[in-house]
Amino acid sequence: MTAFTDITNIPTPQCWQDVRDVLDAGVERIILFGPPGTGKTYAGLNYGNVAAGAYRVACTEDMTEADITGCWMPSANGTWQWSMGKAIKAWEGDGFTGGRLVLDEIDRANGDVESLLLAVTDTIESAKWEHPENGRSVRPRNGFSVVMTTNLERMDDLPTALKDRFPVAIRINAPHPAALASLPEDLRAPALASADANRGRRFSIRTFQTFAKLRGPLGTERAASLLFGDVAGDILDALRVEAVTS
């Protein structure tokens, strides 16, 4: 079981505490939603029981079943062989225990893939897939878990049947403390507050990490203008207010 890292001086935000509690309790279907750049995918790939492997699928409109269950691929000796999709790999896990399937940006998947995902993410008892190469029936192994992530703010926008397979949906509105700890101390609080700000004032942890990297060699003003564009001046004003009392 991968433990959450407790970072000194940065309290764990409630949303991350919720993720920890849910995964520790053994819940195997969970949706993490909310603003981008807060570490939802990272959490899906690393937290909870992922010893049997974690497999990530980034959903797009153009994706096909090949990404989920697999496809026939030409081999070097002129024959065709089946290339296993990530969902089936996650079902199989390490051969003893099921692995973790992380479905990113689930709202972007097309209708065909969505239907397939309904089957793939069903309960262990109901899910079943026939291997086209050998006709063997494959079922998810015990321990198989799925974490879906999306930037959608309303879960109503997801298909009802898919949503029903994921009883727990947690809104991630703060960067994980481990990600915050990678920032210089003076940028941690702004990064925490900005993660869930309204459009135009929202900046992901990646933006802050880049800002921290750039402001050293380029200076704060140039780094801000490169990264924040139109609002760079306003951010510099805020930093000026911050500096006078700090």
Binding site: A193, D196, A197, N198, D234, R240, V241, T245
Partner: protein, 464 residues
């Protein structure tokens, strides 16, 4: 012109965690920009000119330093309007240090507002307007408007402005603007200045807001209360600008000189107070084993020695409302201590008296119930009697006053310095005093403690 937006998410506070803000687009008209720190909502103009930028900086500074509620301090007897005006002054001062232009905070309504308020003789309104805009172009325009209607009032309000500005400029000359800005903007949470359980106070608020707000209240009081011109029975008149200046900027409060009375100490007191452990080379339990290597005499044992006592200073002024039974209670709780009472104006020949010393005490306890008036000299006298390490307990509500029994900030500060220098433990009442002496009896050391206005004085001089 590029539109601007406020970024309060980039601000940090020590007293609470920041979060996402709802920033609404407003205009640069006075009153249309505001900050609600509790719900994290801000309304600011979105224009890109200097006025709008300064307004955004002003509101962001509120988000950075102001308390969640805008009436913090009213429980101390300060008016709500003065607290709000003082907060505006604190914020404007800090944005100036940050490099923004507070002179840009102007909407053209100031002259008319000044004229109207002067015509209506709205003293509170005028003082609050001056306090909120002191040191900016808006204040100059406001005073121009006031002078149109009442030139003498214009002069008086100018004195008020100067007095408010001196709250910043004087310490800024001493500590430097940046250091003082850090102090005024310090959001470290701290206890209420009066020692009550009121929460929400920060170091910056106590240092930057409350003294200004008190001064504004004093100005309103002086302006709206007719003064007796002289000692004769002539008609009361309005205060002059010179008188106002003296009151607002005067730091000339002074204590009455000490007039000591040696009461006949006829009764013997049994017992002593406190105990001290000292090292000795004879004993049963070696508690100081490190001394085996460091002490040539190898004093590794402990010896408990009874202390002679300590010093108890009792404020017997009228505000304390102490009965002779209360004082008796204190004397019983402090056997072996030197006990000193004081109150100025209650006894014709003396204002400080020694009621117990060297194991003897007086028969009859003198009644005080006059003014304070002599707090500082009494504390110094008490401290001069204390032997090394002896505790000094000062029973006082913190309302130290001048020889005329008036309140002065410099006297608060003077007493705060004395409390710190002599490590005095202040208590508000007899119960507190008895509890403190009980601690001494158990051999515990009393911490230095400030009470009431002395505590405010300690904040003002940077002790707390």
């Amino acid at each position: 012109m590029t539109a601007g937006i406020a970024m309060p998410e980039w601000l940090t506070r020590l007293d609470r965690t920041n979060g996402a803000w709802d920033v609404q687009a407003g205009s640069s008209q006075r009153g249309d920009a505001w900050t609600n720190s509790r719900d994290r909502i801000m309304r600011v103009p979105v224009g890109g000119d200097e006025t709008n930028r300064s307004i955004r900086a002003h509101e962001m500074t509120h988000a950075k330093i102001s308390p969640e509620t805008n009436n913090l301090g009213t429980e101390l007897g300060i008016s709500h309007g003065s607290i709000i005006a003082a907060e505006e002054f604190r914020v404007n001062t800090l944005i100036k240090v940050a490099g923004f232009d507070p002179d840009a905070l102007i909407d053209g309504s100031e002259k008319l507002a000044g004229e109207r308020l002067a015509q209506m003789k709205d003293y509170a309104g005028m003082v609050h307007a001056v306090g909120a805009t002191a040191g900016t172009r808006a204040c100059r325009h406001f005073l121009t408007g006031v002078r149109r209607a009442d030139s003498e009032m214009g002069k008086k309000l100018r004195e008020v402005e100067k007095a408010i500005l001196s709250e910043w400029s004087k310490p800024a000359r001493r500590y430097g603007e940046k250091a003082l800005a850090r102090r005024w903007g310090n959001t470290a949470p701290t206890g209420a200045p009066d020692g009550s359980s009121e929460s929400g106070y920060t170091v910056g608020y106590i240092n930057g807001n409350l003294p200004v707000a008190r001064k504004l209240d004093a100005a309103i009081e002086m302006l709206s209360t007719p003064q007796s011109a002289d000692e004769d029975d002539s008609e009361p008149t309005e205060i002059t600008s010179d008188q106002l200046k003296k009151v607002l900027t005067g730091k000339d409060g002074k204590f009455a000189p000490l007039r000591l009375e040696e009461l006949p100490l006829t009764k013997t007191v049994r017992g002593t107070l406190g105990k001290t452990r000292t090292a000795t080379n004879v004993g049963r339990n070696p508690r100081r084993i490190n001394r085996m290597l460091t002490d040539p005499q190898r004093r590794v044992f402990d010896r408990t020695r009874r202390n002679a006592g300590g010093i108890v200073l009792i404020d017997q002024s009228g505000s304390m409302a102490l009965s002779s039974e209360d004082v008796e209670k204190m004397m019983e709780a402090s056997p072996g201590c030197t006990i000193i009472g004081y109150s100025n104006g209650s006894r014709s020949l003396s204002n400080v008296w020694v009621m117990a010393k060297d194991g003897r005490r007086c028969e009859h306890i003198p009644s005080g119930n006059g003014g304070n008036g002599v707090d500082g000299p009494a504390v110094e006298y008490a401290a001069s009697l204390a032997r090394r390490g002896e505790p000094i307990v000062w029973v006082c509500d913190g309302m130290v006053t001048s020889e005329d029994d008036e309140l002065f900030e410099n006297l608060d500060q003077q007493c705060a310095r004395l409390v710190r220098r002599h490590k005095i433990h202040m208590v508000r009442d007899v119960e507190g005093g008895v509890a403190a002496l009980d601690e001494v009896r158990k051999g515990r050391t009393l911490p230095t403690k400030y009470v009431g206005k002395v505590r405010m004085g300690a904040y003002a001089v940077g002790i707390l």
